[in-house]
């Protein structure tokens, strides 16, 4: 479904990597590894089409993503290291607005349910700026609960989460894979994803 050929990344004067390629099918997780600064985030941003690669091509369902455009983006869910939540809005408002902007149908009940799953029951109506680091991250992750788009791209999703939340998220990713979804992920924490095929790609 998602293929990358011979990707090359140059930042400033520095060639971060070259000749990187892979092929990912439904139910598979690509686990991107590499030391700090190896180029993992850069690679992810290429995959979602925000950073044009120096060389090489990325295809989704056989079509180069530049060409696929909105069709590709309609099947993509990206979670960067920024949380993409508004500090002034409450978790509830944040998730509703995000859904509406991504053109998804999501009822208030569904959102409340998602928030409860991420352990934010009782904080639905507190502006996000008052939340702790980990709680903010949880709001961002709550988007994934009802997410049914096939391709998930996650940049260090486990950062700032406590142990219980890490387990919960690992379970959520497994369920996504079992539904036949694809995921690309980076993390420096060793977290076991119980289900799905895990492929590793090491940048160095």
């Amino acid at each position: 479904m998602l293929e990358a050929d011979n990707l090359e990344c140059v930042r400033g004067e520095r060639r971060l990597f070259a000749g990187v390629g892979f092929r990912l099918e439904g139910g598979e997780l690509l686990y991107l590894q590499g030391r700090n600064g190896a180029g993992k985030t850069s690679l992810l941003r290429m995959l979602i089409g925000l950073l044009p690669p120096e060389a090489g091509e990325i295809r989704w369902r056989g079509v180069p993503i530049r060409q696929a455009g909105d069709d590709f983006r309609a099947e993509l869910c990206y979670l960067g290291h920024l949380n993409a939540i508004k500090e002034e809005l409450t978790p509830l408002e944040n998730l509703l607005a995000a859904a509406r902007l991504a053109d998804e149908e999501l009822s208030e009940d569904e959102v409340l349910d998602a928030l409860e799953q991420v352990g934010l029951a009782g904080r639905e109506d507190l502006a996000c700026k008052y939340l702790s680091q980990g709680q903010k991250r949880r709001v961002a992750l709550a988007r994934l609960v009802k997410e049914r788009r096939p391709l998930w791209v996650l940049d260090e999703p486990f950062v700032a989460l406590d142990v219980a939340a890490v387990d919960w998220l690992a379970g959520l990713i497994s369920a996504h894979l079992q539904r036949g979804g694809l995921a690309v992920m980076t993390t420096h924490q060793a977290v076991a994803i119980p289900a799905g095929t895990v492929r590793e790609l090491r940048l160095s």
């Binding site: 990206y78 993409a84 002034e88 408002e93 053109d103």
Partner: protein, 222 residues
């Protein structure tokens, strides 16, 4: 298509309401700047009446401009902009929504307030009407053009001042026609010609600016 635009407008308006201060303070900035001039220049009514159109329009322009840096900056900083760029619809629509919301929060209140301030400068009723109309028609263009500037300077530190630098030259036609309309009315020539030119400017800006801004945003995100 319309759904996206309204969704963006609704979200931005809600954010503005939440911050409350925003709307009120843009207005007060307008009031204060307008009141500064007589202080700096002195209290002769005749002189002040001559200045009125220019001062009011420059103040409106500055008040609109001051809120521009935050048009995309907040969304950029917290990662929302990335998500908007990844949504499966043209980014230009999103920008259109943001520009409309910006105008509702920063342009519209100015038009409401302008006649009251005009009184301080002893303007005639007719001049006040034209002043209000010109601000009502002209400020959408300011928001639209400002959107391009805001997108171009996004993520550049020191963006705020750089932004003014980019945007002000483009604002000058709006200023000239806007203040010109009031001036023409005051001197009995009738401001219709100026107003229709202003309307043309605004239409052009609103049709074109969001797409230019969207392109600039994609570059800023690379």
């Amino acid at each position: 298509m319309l759904r996206i635009v309204t969704a963006v407008v609704a979200r931005d308006l809600r954010l503005a309401m939440r911050r409350q201060a925003d709307i009120v303070s843009a207005l007060f900035f307008f009031i204060i700047v307008v009141s500064l001039f007589p202080l700096g220049i002195g209290p002769e009514p005749d002189l002040l009446r001559k200045l009125a159109p220019g001062v009011l329009w420059v103040a409106a322009l500055l008040a609109t401009m001051l809120s521009l840096p935050r048009l995309f900056a907040d969304d950029h900083r917290d990662g929302t902009l990335e998500q908007l760029a990844l949504a499966p619809h043209p980014l230009g629509l999103v920008v259109t929504g943001k520009v409309i919301a910006h105008w509702l929060v920063s342009g519209l209140p100015l038009a409401v307030l302008a006649p009251v301030l005009g009184l301080q400068f002893d303007l005639s009723t007719e001049a006040l009407v034209v002043l209000t109309a010109s601000i009502l028609i002209g400020t959408p263009a300011l928001s639209g053009i400002g959107g391009i500037g805001a997108a171009l300077t996004l993520g550049l530190r020191g963006g705020g001042v750089l932004l003014s630098l980019l945007v002000l030259p483009l604002y000058i036609p709006v200023l000239i026609f806007g203040a010109g309309a009031v001036d023409a009315t005051v001197s009995g020539l009738g401001g219709e010609a100026h107003l229709s030119l202003l309307a043309a400017l605004t239409l052009a800006a609103l049709g074109f600016a969001p797409w230019a801004a969207a392109a600039a945003l994609r570059i800023a995100l690379e």
